[in-house]
Point group: C3
Chain length 270, copies 3
Amino acid sequence: MKAQILNAIRAVYDSVPLVHSITNFVVMQVSANALLAAHASPLMAHAVEEMDDLTDIDAALVLNIGTLDPAWLESMELAGSLMKKKGKPVVLDPVGAGASGLRTRSALRLLDTVRPDILRGNASEIMALAAEIRSADKVTTKGVDSRNSSDEALDSARALAERFGCAVSVSGERDVMTDGRSSLVVEGGSPLMPLVTGMGCSASAVTGAYAAVCPDRLIAAAAAMAVMASAGEKAGARAKGPGSFLPAFLDELYLLDPEDAASRVRVLEA
Amino acid sequence: MKAQILNAIRAVYDSVPLVHSITNFVVMQVSANALLAAHASPLMAHAVEEMDDLTDIDAALVLNIGTLDPAWLESMELAGSLMKKKGKPVVLDPVGAGASGLRTRSALRLLDTVRPDILRGNASEIMALAAEIRSADKVTTKGVDSRNSSDEALDSARALAERFGCAVSVSGERDVMTDGRSSLVVEGGSPLMPLVTGMGCSASAVTGAYAAVCPDRLIAAAAAMAVMASAGEKAGARAKGPGSFLPAFLDELYLLDPEDAASRVRVLEA
Amino acid sequence: MKAQILNAIRAVYDSVPLVHSITNFVVMQVSANALLAAHASPLMAHAVEEMDDLTDIDAALVLNIGTLDPAWLESMELAGSLMKKKGKPVVLDPVGAGASGLRTRSALRLLDTVRPDILRGNASEIMALAAEIRSADKVTTKGVDSRNSSDEALDSARALAERFGCAVSVSGERDVMTDGRSSLVVEGGSPLMPLVTGMGCSASAVTGAYAAVCPDRLIAAAAAMAVMASAGEKAGARAKGPGSFLPAFLDELYLLDPEDAASRVRVLEA
């Protein structure tokens, strides 16, 4: 496991993958800075008129529905479909799925039409999406009441991974990721991370960088979260509060100790 | 007064209110970070398709016309009207009112149709809006020449408070707020604050958090500005310039001394 | 040369020019903060409905096609044309020209219809645009293979300067700028600058501030890059990585030593 994570980190550093994000307005700057600090290259563009050209040069695409509207959804579908046609990886962050019908439906639509390689969200989002497909399948669901249980999120992640043929990466106090068969866990980070906007979206962006270089989607998902966890934990130790955390986090992402990151990943079930 | 401000601060900390902003592109990140640091929870969304769902879970709504266009104005009107129908508070920041006819008209339209609970702007914006309604009312106005006079801004604030039945909160070297009858003043802050983009917009976002927990609009407005003034003054003492001010400000907002904040509010007229 | 740069810096400090940007979503916050730190005043607005009003008060306009779509392009053309009609300077940053047909065509269209005073980009963008006009002119081109050669970029810059009657400012390890006849070079900066998103876009924004006060476009372009290079070099010495670089950079921009900045400009060819 550790060797696979180290190989993935080395591959990002060697290739500096171009990660194209169609993401929300709130996190564009921090996501771009996280990609640069993580030794990748960011590109943000949403015009349908340039999607064919850009997907030619993109190494990975990250779709994030944080400040969604119908016009942007159309760009996401087009870009996602072009990437898959060109054999390149797509990551979906279903920000706010469960909070509005538009977000839940849009995330499911993108899962269904684009077939992303990795679905990356928090426990609530993953559980809301799983509840929706279970309900549509007339399967009994326990609902989304126990939102904070990572075991419940893991069940939901497995269900989504099986249904859409993707890896699912769930962030939380500890991060879990599954491809429906095997599951991994990543430990680390800082309690300051949820107090800084865009940390989850940056995790999705960095997941794009790892998906670009790593054909094993589960390893890509774990390597990205390990890198975030390692940098986050070191930044948390330096920071006085959430304001000084962000610059410290970007520094630590850039100065990453690959050994420390790789040692944070464990097999949960094989 | 001090006890009321302390109660408001405690109420925000206890409930971590979900503050929905429809705001400008420039300040989305800093506003979200300010809300998180101030112990509230940010949500940014503008699609009309999800306004009914989101206003069900929002604790307050903040409208900010900083990078306005007609499509966003439509979202703001819809979201504002839904919030008022659901009995929840709305804050309006009329960014740039007076600088263009579109902004002045849009701010007045939102004041008229949505009836926000708190109007929060700088002296120039408040005076431009007041001049506009005085002119429409055929009342003689001294114009907006003496833009920097806080007394003139207080007169304008009173006129707007009476006309639209809201509290009006005016930021400046010292902040003043009025509900048309009583007026308060808040002292503190740092000369570096106007050199960082989004400080005023963050004040409006934090005002939303306080409006969510505090039925007295004047107290909500004063508590929010007191929190900003306290954090700003401490950050100013730590910062080397406007760059290091922002992380320091978010740290100090998070580490707030409620006593210090509460002691900054005084009655100007009762 | 040094005296001219010092005069330009003094003129910005004295007049605090209002720089209107129609720019990309990723860099709006950092560009606004860079303008404030550089003793200018930022305005971001894209609605066609307010372009006539705003161009009345703008001291300069900066167009940046980083997250372009057709609606924003229309705003850029309108705002650019209004500024030129009102005798005020326009700067164009052709972000990503060469990466998609939309961007290359849009940049050339803005060059042709608006006639910006200064075109400010990186070597790849300038060479892609020059290759396009050479190709349209049936002139033999060496192509854009040697993207990193600053000499090649200078040739391209000269060709664009002559064709569109503007100054062209090219950022890189050392920055070069030309009006087609004379060329200048600016040295300084930090290897951390390309690891922070929006540094190039901020350079374009600051170029707008200098264009507002300085009728000699070549001097304006050089003064802006000299200010960036001086602040960048000092920030690089203080920073631990790209995260701590950005606050340090904004501090140093604010605390600028004009003598240090001015000493960085040299004549390359007269």
